[in-house]
Symmetry: D2
Subunit: 331 residues, 4 copies
C-alpha cells in the first residue's frame, strides 16, 4: 500500500526481483488509475497499474503515512493477513506516545503489545512467528544496531547521544523547501533538535536492553546526498576499554549476521548504498573515556524497504537473505 | 605565502578587493614562475606571478603547511614584519603538543606565549596589539564560538562533545582518494575519531574559559559539499535552563559582534557560505538536560581567509569589517 | 519588485553592497509584511521589510514573472522612472511572439521598439540612453556572447545549434518535482526540446547580427548544481579557419570588455561562479569544418542580477563595473 | 583482469551475483596481494584476493588500460580463451587509428578484423559466435544506440553532432585535479573538443550503417554526478518527419530489445542508473528540420560492465539478460 513514495518505490523494485514473491497489487493515494511507470519512470518495465484499493493478497506491506497506515491495515490484520508496516504506527509500545509525539489517538492500542519490532538482529525469533511486524525507522535502525552490543555488554553508563546524518530522500517525495535542490545542495543543517519522532523509538529499544539508561539525545541532520544515514553514537564507558576490545566485542556480537558488518575504519554511507548492509565501527576516545560507534546504512534499503523484505522472509520462512542486495553499488 | 591551496587562493581573492591593501607578492612552492591564473583560472584577472620567495612586504599571511610555515615565517617575524599564520604552528601554547599531535619539534617555542590566538570575538584587544597572530583552524572557529558563551556563563558541566561536519575543501587541493569526486560524492563518513589535530586546539581554548572542563570529544565528518562547517556541540547543563534563556544568553554574549549572528533555528551552512559570518543557534534538550549548540561557517572564509583578514584589520587599526563579505551567497 | 525569487534575492544582495545605490524598497507577492530575513535568512542583516507595493524609488528592477512584470511596470514607465526588467516582457521585438511562446497578449506592444535589449557587450550605447532595458535571459546571455563574434565576422553559415547546460537555480524557487533534490541530484536531462522560450530570444539577437542565419536549434539541459550555465554552440564554418585564428578573432572582439574573458581552454562554470564574468572559448573541429564555442556564466549574476546592475550602471552613468564581483568564488 | 578501476569493480560486483558464473580470479596491477575488500570496501564480502597474474579461467574480462590490455590478452586469445575486452584495443578496425588517436602501434592488427564490436542491439549474431568481443566505450554506446535507427532508416543527412554529458566516474579512479571533488562539484565543462578518442569509434560505427555520413562532431562534457551519460544527438532531417513518426520509427527499431527503452520524454540519466538499460527519446525540431535524439545510460553498467556481461551471456549461450539489473535504482 502506497507505492508513490520513495520507500514504496524501492519496495516495489526489490520485490519485483524477489524470486519467491509475486507483486500482484500496488496502491497509491493520489495516483490511483495511473501506471506505475507514470509516477516512477524507472519502474515502467513492471507494467503495473496503481489501484485505489488493495487487491487480493497473501501478504501486505504498508508504506502509508503514520495514522493512515494503522487505519488501513486494521481490516487486513483482522482477517489474518500477515503484514509489515513501514510506518511508525506499531513501533511504540506505549499508546500514549502516539498522542505525545505523533498527535493522534492510536486506533488499535490493543495491537501494540503483539506487534513485533522488526529488527532481525535483535528480534529474529519473534519476527519469525509474528503476524504484524513494525518495520523500524531509518534512524533507529542505524542507531540501535550501533549501540545494542555496548548496552548488552554493560560497558557504558549515563545518557547517550546519537548525532545522525541523513540524505534527503529520508524527507520523502513530497515537495518542500527543505528538499528543494538549490536549498539542500551544498548545505548541512540540524533539524528537529530534541523533537524528532525517532527519539522515543530509539529510546524504547535501548531501554529494553538496558533499563538503567537514563536519557537519549538524538539530533538528526540533513546532508546533500540522496541516500544514506550515518549515526555517530556517543556513550560514556564505565571502565577501561581498549579499541581492540571494543572491536572484538562488536565482531562477536554480530558474528554470523548476514547484513551487519563490523568494519575496521569509520564506515562510509556510500559503502552501504543500495545494499541491505549495516556497517558498524566501534572506536574509543581514551582521553574522554568515551565509546564512539558509527553505523552506516542505506536509509531506503536497510532503513526501510530492504529490512521490510528481510522481515517478510523471516515471517514466511524463506531464507532471510532472499531477494536482498548484499553488495553496495559503488561508486 | 603559499597561494596554491584553497585557503591561499581565497585570501588572494578577498585581498584583491580589499580597499586598504595592495596584494604585492604571492608565493607558491611548486608553482613558482607560473601566473596565478594558470594555477587558479578564476584569479587570472589579478595578473600576478607566483614567486619562489616573498618580495618586499609590510604584512605577511602564511598559508603554508604546518612546520614549514613556522620555519619560513621566522626570519620575517625577527625583522618585525607583522604576520597572520593560517597554519597551526602558533596556535598551541604548549610546545610539547606539536611533538604529540603534529610529529615535529617546534622551531621557535619561545614565540608561542606571545603569539595571539586570532579569534576576534574572544581576543580582540590582544589581536589589536599583536605582531604575530595564529589564525584559528576551521573546526575550532565554529566549535569555540558555539561553546564560549555557555562556558563563560558557567551553565554546563562535565565533558563536552563536538560532532562536526565539513565540506571537502577542508581537505585541501592535494589529490587523495578521500577527496576524489566519485568517492566523496553521495557519501558521509567520520574520520580521525579521537585523533584529529583540532582537538587539542579546541580543548586549549575551552579550558582557558573554564578550567574545570574535564574532557573534549571531537569527531569530524566529511559531507559532500565543497564549503561549509557545521559544528553540533553537546554539553550537560548543570541546572534548569529554558530554550529562551539559552537564546537570551547567546544573543547577549554576541551583541554588537559584526560577524556572529545568533539565529532562531539551527543554522544552514549555506546561509553562511561565502561570507565571514558565523551563525549560532542554542537549543535545549529538556529530557536529557543537555545544551545543544549548532554553529555554521564557511570554512574558507570565517574558518580561514576571512578571519585572517579580520585579524589583519584589527592589527593594522583598520575598521574590522573592511573588505569582508557580510552577506552569504545564496543559493 | 519581487525579491522572493533567487534572481531577486541575488539582486538585493548585490545592490546592498553597491556603493552608489540605496536599496530602499523591496516587494514580494506572497511574502508582503514579512522581513526579508524570514524569506531569505542570508539577507537578514539587511533588515528590510517586504512590501506589497513599491515605495518611492528613483530606479526600478523587476524580477516578477513574465506578463505580470509588464503590467506592474507600466505605471512607473509612464511616470518616467527608469527600469530594468529581468522578465522576458520587453525582450522580444515582435509582439506576436508573446502570444506564440508565452501565451499572453502583450499589454504594451508600443514599448517593444524602444525597450533596449540589455546586453552591454553588444548594445552599450543604446543602454546608456535607455529608460527601459530588457535584461537578457540566462541562456541567451551565454549563447549570444558565444556566437556574436563569429556571426559578425561572417565566418559561419547555415543553421546553428546551442546545446546548453544549466544549474537548477534557473528553474527558480517554486517547488516542483524537477527541482526536488532527490530527483535532480545525480541526474542530467534535456527538457523543452525545440520548445524553450529562450529560443526566439536568442534567434532574434543572432538574426539581428546575421540576417541570413536560417535556423537555430536550442536544447536546454538540467545538471546537478545550483548555479551556472554552459552553452556549447555549433556553427558550420564557411571556409578554412585555424584554432589560432578563431581565438584571435574572439580575443579581438572582446578586447577591453570588463566582464568577458576569452580563455584558452573550454571554460568551467565554476570559474565564473559568483562573478559577473562570461568566459568564452572558441575551438575548431577541423575534420567537420565546425566552429565550437563554449561560454560559461553564473546564471544568477551575469545571467540575471549582475547584468541588471551592469545595465543600471550604464543607464545612470556610473562606472560600468561598480558593485559587481569581477572574481569568481572558487572552489 | 584489472579489478582496481571502477569498471572492474562493477564487473566484479555484477559477476558475483550472476547465477551461471563463478568469479574465480581477479587481478590488479598495483594492488596484487591485497584483499579485494581493502581496495574496494563494498566488495569485502566477496573475500577474494587480488592476484598479479590471472589464474586458470574459462572466460576473461579485461578492464586494463588500452595498449596493455591487448598485450596481456594476446596469450589467452591464442590459447582460445573467449574474452571481452573493455578497453579500446579491439574496437577500431583500422590499425592506423591506434597510432593516430591512441599513440601506440597495435600489437596484433591481424585480430582487428575478427574482433566483434560488442553492441548487442546491432551485432547480436556476430557476438554469439565470437571469441573476442570489443566492449564499446561508454559514450559510443549511448551515441550509437541514439543514432542507429535514424541512419538505418535513411531519414537524416549531412554531418552529425553528438553533445555528450558524463558523470565523473567515466574519468576513472586515478587521482587527477579534474576529478577532485572541489573542482568537479558544482561545475560543468566541455573537454577534449574535437579530440576525444571515442570520436573515431562512434564515427566507425555510424559510417558502417550509413556510408555517406560525411562527418561527426563529438563534444564530451563533465557534469557533477558520479554515474550516467546523456548523449544529445543532432542530425538534419532530409525531409518532413513528425515527432510521432520519429517515435514510431524508434519504437519499431528497438521492439523486443530487453535493454533499450524508447521513452516519451527526454530521458533522465537517473532513470537508468544502476541498470543495464539505455533510454532513448526521439524528438523533432520542426523549425530547423532537425532530429534530436537523447539517450541515457549508466556509464559503468550499459556503458561498461553490464554490457560486457551481456556480451558474455551471448557468447556462452546464456539467456541474454542473466545477472543484469533491468530496473534502475531510483532515487
Amino acid at each position: 500500500m502506497n507505492v508513490t513514495g520513495y520507500a514504496g518505490a524501492e519496495l516495489a523494485r526489490l520485490l519485483a526481483d524477489h524470486p519467491l514473491v509475486d507483486l500482484v497489487s500496488v496502491t497509491g493515494r493520489s495516483a490511483a488509475g495511473q501506471k506505475l511507470g507514470q509516477v516512477f519512470p524507472h519502474l515502467a518495465p513492471l507494467d503495473l497499474a496503481i489501484e485505489a484499493e488493495l487487491g487480493q493478497v497473501d501478504f501486505i506491506f504498508s508504506a502509508l503515512p503514520h495514522h493512515e497506515s494503522a487505519e488501513r491495515l486494521l481490516p487486513f490484520i483482522e482477517k489474518g493477513v500477515p503484514a509489515v508496516d513501514l510506518s511508525a504506527d506499531f513501533r511504540l509500545k506505549d499508546a500514549a506516545l502516539y498522542d505525545e509525539w505523533y498527535a493522534f489517538r492510536h486506533p488499535a492500542p490493543q495491537l501494540l503489545a503483539d506487534a513485533v519490532y522488526g529488527l532481525p538482529e535483535l528480534n529474529r525469533a519473534e519476527i519469525q512467528s509474528a503476524r504484524l511486524v513494525a518495520n523500524p525507522g531509518c534512524y533507529p535502525t542505524a542507531s540501535i544496531l550501533a549501540l545494542a552490543p555496548a548496552l548488552k555488554a554493560g560497558i557504558v553508563t549515563g545518557g547517550i547521544i546519537v548525532d545522525a546524518k541523513s540524505g534527503i530522500s529520508g524527507a520523502g517525495r513530497a515537495l518542500k523547501l527543505a528538499s528543494h535542490f538549490c536549498e539542500a545542495d551544498e548545505d548541512v543543517c540540524a533539524y528537529a533538535i530534541a523533537a524528532h519522532r525517532h527519539q522515543p523509538e530509539i529510546f524504547q529499544a535501548l531501554k529494553a536492553i538496558d533499563g538503567a539508561m537514563p536519557a537519549l539525545t538524538f539530533t538528526p541532520h540533513l546532508t546533500p546526498m540522496t541516500r544514506g544515514i550515518l549515526a555517530t553514537c556517543y556513550a560514556r564507558l564505565n571502565g577501561e576499554l581498549t579499541a581492540e576490545e571494543a572491536v572484538r566485542l562488536y565482531a562477536g556480537f554480530y558474528a554470523g549476521e548476514p547484513f551487519v558488518r563490523v568494519v575496521p575504519e569509520p564506515p562510509h554511507t556510500k559503502h552501504a548504498s543500495g545494499s541491505n548492509a549495516c556497517l558498524v565501527n566501534a572506536a574509543v576516545d581514551r582521553r574522554a573515556g568515551m565509546l564512539i560507534v558509527t553505523a552506516a546504512i542505506d536509509n531506503l534499503v536497510k532503513g526501510a524497504a530492504g529490512q521490510a523484505i528481510q522481515n517478510m522472509n523471516l515471517m514466511l520462512g524463506y531464507p532471510e537473505t532472499t531477494g536482498l542486495p548484499r553488495l553496495a553499488r559503488f561508486p
